[in-house]
């Protein structure tokens, strides 16, 4: 019988991958038990983006789910002249609650601005977030080639359920979805419709 060293390597790899996956799952899904070694299996919150093929100027949502929270990323695709951004969004308050801003940037912090950009996130009511951000003179506007992240919002699980997270472009919205440059001009950014996604909280 011929010895196949490649087979051994592949076996070893599979074992290693399985071990790492198990460790990662354990690290990410630790429950609140009394012992630190307790591991409670869980299923991550899932997010299915409505927009799968963004084109230039699209601003849309992506998300990374964990057991107890989901980080919602506001992404922008191929756009120049980004200096001030504003939008609001809705999420299913029955399943999620706003925890806070998880990560600001890196789009607005491009080029090491002399004045730190300002990020304002307001939660006027459960299920609603209002967001605006800006750079300051003399820092110039920035260009995103490919994809760039404007801000990441963390929503915590409050109960099982599902719903849509999306920009609020309804007539009742009190914040316009817009991107402007340092000369107050509107940039050709598109926030929808259908730039959000469906969240499933198990």
């Amino acid at each position: 019988m011929r010895h196949d060293p490649g087979l051994e390597v592949r076996r070893l790899r599979r074992v290693l991958v399985a071990a790492i996956a198990t460790l990662l799952l354990a690290a990410g899904c630790k429950g609140g038990g009394s012992s630190g070694s307790d591991v409670i299996p869980c299923t991550n919150i899932s997010f299915t983006p409505a927009l799968t093929s963004p084109v230039s100027g699209d601003v849309y949502l992506q998300a990374i789910g964990a057991c107890d929270h989901v980080d919602v990323l506001m992404q922008v695709s191929n756009l120049s002249g980004i200096w001030t951004v504003g939008f609001d969004l809705t999420y299913p308050a029955s399943a999620l609650s706003y925890q806070g801003t998880y990560f600001e940037g890196p789009v607005m912090n491009q080029g090491s601005p002399g004045t730190p950009p300002l990020f304002i996130v307001s939660s006027p009511s459960a299920g609603s977030l209002q967001v605006t951000m800006t750079r300051f003179p003399p820092d110039p506007s920035v260009t995103v080639s490919g994809l760039g992240s404007l801000i990441t919002i963390r929503l915590n699980k409050v109960a099982s359920g599902s719903g849509v997270i999306d920009f609020d472009m309804s007539s009742s919205s009190t914040v316009s979805e817009e991107i402007r440059d340092e000369n107050t001009n509107l940039r050709p950014a598109s926030f929808g419709p259908g730039h959000g996604g469906t969240v499933l909280v198990p």
Binding site: W83, G86, I120, S122, Q130, V175, S176, E178, R180
Partner: protein, 272 residues
């Protein structure tokens, strides 16, 4: 008799000089209390123990003594308004010796005044902030103490305040109308109780420019953009935009940003 000071030589070498001050505005616990303040010169005996006050409504006829302790002034409450009272005071020492009466003083608690109101904070309710837009109708809440039903609120010219609603003597809610001509900047709030007692707070509320700078009926990123574009500019700069100078101080800075943030995403009662 008011303000008059006489000296007498009572027995036991206790000397008391007496003066009466009537109509003193006293901070008393009851809004309807009548109060009169009595004061006298201190006795110099080393073994002085205290003073006794006697008073009545007929000259020379007094009621039971009131031991007021080792003090040289005393606020006597609960008197009838419009009635003349007559007062004398005596001193007593550690051995129980009591001086003769001081001179008699008289007076009327002619003014009935409750405790003066105080203001500790003022808030525009829709934004929970001290900012009020330059024009329009707003609900304002003042917190403090000793507010009486019927208290009036004054925020200066070009701002009219309606009928007040008082809760627990500690909170006033009032609707105000800010005229379009109202000057920008801080306003002093003055409250006046029906009994005449008043209190004020400087820099209570600030009249600001409308945070909807671009007048699209929203306070959002478009307005933030205008504040940011003019950021750190003064009136002589090309970049200066008076509409973005929300506090009207000639400098576009953090104060203007603070006002913007308070109004960000709020639906304004007035759409310009």
């Amino acid at each position: 008799m008011l303000g008059r000071r006489n000296r007498v030589r009572p027995k036991a070498s206790v000397v008391v000089a007496f003066a009466l001050l009537a109509g003193f505005l006293h901070v008393a616990p009851a809004a309807a209390a009548t109060v009169i303040r009595l004061s006298w010169d201190s006795n110099i005996e080393p073994d002085l123990s205290g003073y006794r006050l006697r008073y009545g409504t007929v000259s020379g006829a007094y009621g039971a003594p009131l031991n007021v302790g080792k003090v040289t002034s005393y606020d006597l409450a609960g008197l009838s308004a419009g009635t003349t009272y007559y007062f004398v005071v005596t001193a007593y020492d550690a051995s129980g010796n009591e001086s003769g009466f001081s001179n008699q003083a008289s007076g009327q608690p002619s003014t009935v005044v409750g405790p003066s109101p105080t203001i500790s904070s003022a808030t525009e309710l829709s934004t929970n902030s001290p900012y009020i837009l330059e024009a329009g109708r707003h609900s304002v809440q003042l917190t403090g103490t000793n507010f009486q039903t019927g208290v009036t609120v004054n925020l200066g010219s070009t701002i009219s305040a309606g009928t007040t609603s008082v809760a627990g003597g500690k909170q006033i809610t009032v609707t105000i109308d800010v005229a379009a001509t109202a000057a920008l900047g801080w306003r002093t709030a003055l409250v006046t109780n029906p009994d005449g007692g008043s209190g004020s707070m400087s820099q209570a509320l600030m009249v600001t420019r409308n945070a909807d700078i671009n007048r699209d009926c929203l306070v959002d990123g478009g307005d933030l953009n205008l504040v940011a574009v003019a950021w750190n500019s003064v009136t002589t700069d090309v970049r200066f935009n008076s509409a973005a100078d929300l506090d009207g101080n000639g400098l576009i800075d953090g104060d203007d940003m603070a006002i913007f943030i308070k109004y960000f995403g709020k639906r304004l009662s007035i759409c310009p």
